[in-house]
């Protein structure tokens, strides 16, 4: 039976439950493993990155699988997927894989096939000139940015995702195709605090953030939202019930208590937050998920707000590059960005990255005390002298 082509296909709206199949789950993975993977499942002995984007895994059986990793956009059309299929059919007996970070992996079982595949991939470009399948994303470099939907499909974003990722990856392209950093560096991007892509443990996290309190749509509040749920949704108790002049039930916002999390808007469409001037990009850094050497860490806010400068986000690109360059210069081999910042001290991190330290970066939410420094150990930087000068402690 082929895919159906009638307007409603196999579905009969007169009898919606007829022939309904449910709870099938995903298809089984084993059939999608190419023979080289099936034959060597659980027998892999070691791997080596031959060059950026090219890996070989060697099995106890002596078999080798060559993998070419290429960057991909999370957003793709069926045209792009079909081109991926064309490549997979041509070189890989129809098998292909996607990584957690939206890269695409093509696997072959010999060096010759790998060389032919590589040449093919490198030759494919969009008519506007950008690569379709850039090799890279391996080893001590920058791999693809995982991200969220942004303006393409989401109702809560404080910025756009695909465009920022495209711009930042253009900026970091040499790092994607090189392995020149002290360790791998993971950049992640989320358009709002909901973080449907969890960016909170990334070496560098780019986060869309609202900065204006919600506007109350009094006209519809009582008819479209459960007011008690809206009130309960606010983590700082900034929302309270009120009545409009015309007697409609609504809510009022204690604006100075708002931390702009947007949870109220998630609960209630009558409280929009987005705003051209208010919405911005917050940059966080120093997180990781690997347990290697040091435990996983959260990313820390290092730039409170950069402008949503569509479509290329020059300020974001420039800041990310600056941070990575300082890290590349200063960190030891194997040291992740956060480990480097902790070793040299965050005061030195700000100095080396040339980033201003503003009051926004000192935590004032719950458990803020955990981040206060309670020791006399510190390093002298310009920021420290500014404090000393301000109180007349030095000239």
């Amino acid at each position: 039976m082929g895919l159906s082509t009638e307007r409603l296909g196999l579905y009969n709206p007169e009898k919606p439950m007829e022939n309904r199949i449910t709870d099938l789950g995903p298809r089984h993975f084993w059939q999608y493993f190419p023979p080289i993977i099936q034959n060597n499942y659980g027998k892999w002995k070691y791997h080596e990155i031959l060059e950026p984007g090219v890996l070989v895994h060697v099995s106890e059986t002596g078999d080798k699988v060559f993998t070419i990793r290429v960057g991909g956009c999370r957003f793709m059309t069926v045209e792009h997927v079909r081109e991926i299929c064309e490549i997979a059919d041509k070189h890989c007996d129809g098998y292909v894989r996607f990584t957690t970070r939206n890269n695409i992996e093509f696997m072959v079982d010999s060096q010759d096939k790998m060389e032919a595949l590589k040449k093919d991939l490198q030759s494919r470009k969009h008519v506007s000139g950008s690569y379709k399948f850039p090799l890279g994303g391996t080893g001590a470099g920058v791999t693809n940015i995982v991200h969220t939907q942004g303006y393409i499909h989401c109702h809560t974003p404080a910025t756009d995702a695909s465009s920022m990722v495209k711009s930042v990856m253009d900026e970091l392209f040499d790092y994607f195709q090189g392995m020149t950093l002290p360790a791998q560096l993971r950049v992640s991007m989320a358009c709002c605090l909901n973080m449907c892509g969890a960016v909170h443990c990334s070496d560098i996290a780019l986060l869309g953030y609202h900065r204006k309190p919600p506007i109350v749509d009094n006209e519809v509040m009582e008819s479209v939202c459960e007011i008690p749920l809206v009130i309960a949704a606010c983590p700082t108790a900034a929302i309270s019930p009120t009545k409009t002049e015309s007697g409609k039930k609504s809510v009022k916002i204690k604006e100075e208590r708002c931390m702009f999390c947007g949870n109220c808007y998630t609960m209630c469409m009558a409280l929009p937050l987005s705003d051209k001037e208010g919405d911005c990009v917050t940059v966080m850094a120093g997180g990781k998920v690997s347990n290697r050497i040091s435990p996983p860490k959260f990313s820390k806010v290092i730039i409170p707000a950069l402008p949503n400068n569509f479509p290329r986000f020059p300020e974001v690109c420039e800041s990310v590059r600056r941070i990575i360059e300082a890290y590349a210069e200063g960190a030891n081999k194997y040291e992740r960005l956060g480990d480097w910042a902790e070793r040299i001290g965050w005061e030195k991190f700000f100095e080396k990255c040339g980033l201003p330290f503003t009051e926004h970066l000192i935590d004032d939410y719950r458990l803020a005390y955990d981040t206060y420094r309670t020791t006399s150990q510190f390093k002298y930087t310009e920021a420290a002298w500014n404090v000393s000068k301000a109180v007349g402690g030095v000239e």
Binding site: G2, L3, L8, L10, Y11, M17, R20, I21, T22, G25, P26, R27, F29, Q31, Y32, W44, Y46, E48, P52, H57, G72, R74, M76, T77, V81, R82, C85, G94, V96, F98, M107, G129, S130, P134, T138, A140, Q149, Y151, I152, H155, D160, K166, S167, M169, F173, F176, M179, T180, L193, N194, C196, A198, C201, S274, D275, V289, R292, P311, R312, Y334
Partner: protein, 473 residues
């Protein structure tokens, strides 16, 4: 070895399933693509076509051109859907705001998840995306595919939807971006009846589980991540499709502590492969690394000259527990002191391998910042053998945990927040496990212990008269 599916898998052949002919699939020339103009002003988007990184705009344009050249009866939603999406995106850039409306409850009968309703707030300007619902399609574990399957999905989705998708969404699903309400059920029927494929999760339910590449192509995986992911996804289909939880719940399976799917940061229940015997050492290979014959870290640092490999500096001194040393040219490891951070194994994959007596560590409660701040998962179960069908995990861990959370969790309260609110001791009670020092970074520094009456000799019932008999007022 081979893994067997729970039910026979229909063999999918694209040539038998396809909707479009080769002529239809190749219906434009490169020259036409170069000259193609989208019907709306997309000047800001076109700025994103240059530069080396793959341009999603360039891709969208070819999707749009392809649609424009298909015959009228060869797609069931509007032809202009990609062009309209681009047009709206341009306006969103200009306005600095999204133009998608809040919410919208649509779905397929009997499921409470898998479809996310979406409507444009500029439907007059962009009528083809007035409805733009997302469908989440549950990906095969670790995202290996065959083109027969992918091409069939593409035909289905171009015919009945926008032809725009995500490979993949953050949680792991294949995302179909944008179709009209009328086509949701037909797509679901074709998926289930013809492609033997189900939707993924959304809403307050079990979200589509995901896993790392595991033993399929990684020498470090301590568990069969795909099989665990597949089995638990299938076993808990009801929880995945019919929201009955306080909020979302995520399983993620990492084969080793490198955590390539970031389970520790984003899963309510993080499974991390580990071992309890000794790191396997090949002393000959250690010597080869020391002699510079093998590039360290699988060649990950080849792009820069870091000087000759120094095992003392790069491995032994960086070991977080300092449990390694050299003795007569041999690398020694005090495995009792090892915390399995993977650094030495990462640096010398040909010399060191994880042990062979493997299982999982289970951690609970990770989540993104909404609402009370981000959390990482709490190490709760140090080691657990895991053999299919994983009954020990289902019965002793998952189900008591869900019972507790469904009983006590507040609306939109993630597991990690419930653990914080009711305390780790409650979690231990629910799982019927004793406490261990491994659950904390350090013991508490305040003595505000919530003693229970039964913990204290003599209980709490006392009489003030007795007290006053000893102490004048």
């Amino acid at each position: 070895m081979a893994f067997e599916p729970r039910e026979d898998q229909k063999e999918l052949k694209y040539d038998e399933l396809r909707i479009y002919s080769d002529e239809e699939l190749n219906n434009y020339t490169e020259e036409e693509l170069k000259n193609f103009k989208v019907k709306h002003d997309i000047s800001m988007l076109e700025d994103l076509e240059s530069g080396p990184w793959p341009s999603f705009i360039a891709d969208a344009k070819r999707g749009a051109l392809h649609r424009r050249k298909l015959a009228d009866d060869r797609m069931l939603i509007e032809r202009d859907v990609i062009e309209d999406m681009l047009g709206q995106l341009q306006i969103s850039f200009k306005d600095g705001e999204t133009h998608w409306k809040h919410g919208g409850i649509v779905g397929v009968f009997g499921y409470g998840g898998g479809v996310i309703g979406r409507y444009s707030d500029l439907p007059d300007k962009f009528p083809s995306i007035a409805h733009f619902h997302t469908m989440r399609v549950n990906q095969p574990a670790s995202k290996f595919y065959h083109t027969d399957y992918l091409r069939s999905l593409c035909d289905l989705w171009e015919y009945r939807g926008s032809g725009m998708m995500n490979m993949h969404g953050s949680t792991g699903d294949i995302i179909f971006l944008g179709t009209f309400t009328e086509q949701l059920e037909p797509i679901f029927y074709d998926l289930t009846h013809i492609l033997q494929q189900d939707l993924g999760g959304s809403g307050s339910n079990l979200r589509t589980p995901s896993c790392c590449i595991g033993r399929a192509r990684c020498e470090w995986s301590c568990i069969d991540t795909q099989d665990m992911c597949y089995e638990l996804t299938h076993y808990y289909q009801d929880e995945l499709h019919r929201p009955a939880f306080p909020y979302k719940f995520k399983f993620k399976f990492d084969g080793c502590p490198n955590c390539c799917v970031a389970s520790i940061a984003r899963a309510d229940m993080s499974y991390i492969g580990t071992w309890r015997d000794e790191i396997r050492i090949d002393q000959e290979a250690v010597k080869a690394y020391m002699g510079g014959e093998i590039a360290p870290n699988g060649g990950a640092h080849k792009g820069r000259d870091w000087g000759p490999f120094d095992i003392q500096k790069e491995v032994i001194d960086l070991c977080p527990t300092k449990c390694m040393w050299l003795e007569d040219g041999k690398l020694m490891i005090d495995n009792k002191e090892c915390t399995r951070c993977m650094h030495c194994i990462n640096v010398m994959p040909r010399a060191l391998r994880p042990g062979e007596d493997t299982g999982v560590s289970i951690l609970f409660g990770a989540k993104a910042p909404i609402l009370e701040g981000a959390q990482m998962s709490l190490l709760t179960i140090p080691f657990m053998k895991c053999e299919p069908p994983y009954d020990n995990i289902k019965e002793n861990v998952i189900e008591p945990l869900w019972d507790w959370w469904m009983e006590e969790g507040k609306n939109r309260e993630r597991l990690g927040e419930l653990i914080q609110r009711q305390g780790v001791s409650k979690l231990l009670e629910v799982l019927n496990i004793p406490p261990m020092p491994q659950m904390v970074k350090e013991p508490r520094s305040n003595p505000y212990i919530f003693w229970k009456e039964e913990d204290v000799p003599g209980g709490w019932k006392r009489k003030i008269e007795d007290y006053r008999a000893r102490h004048a007022r």
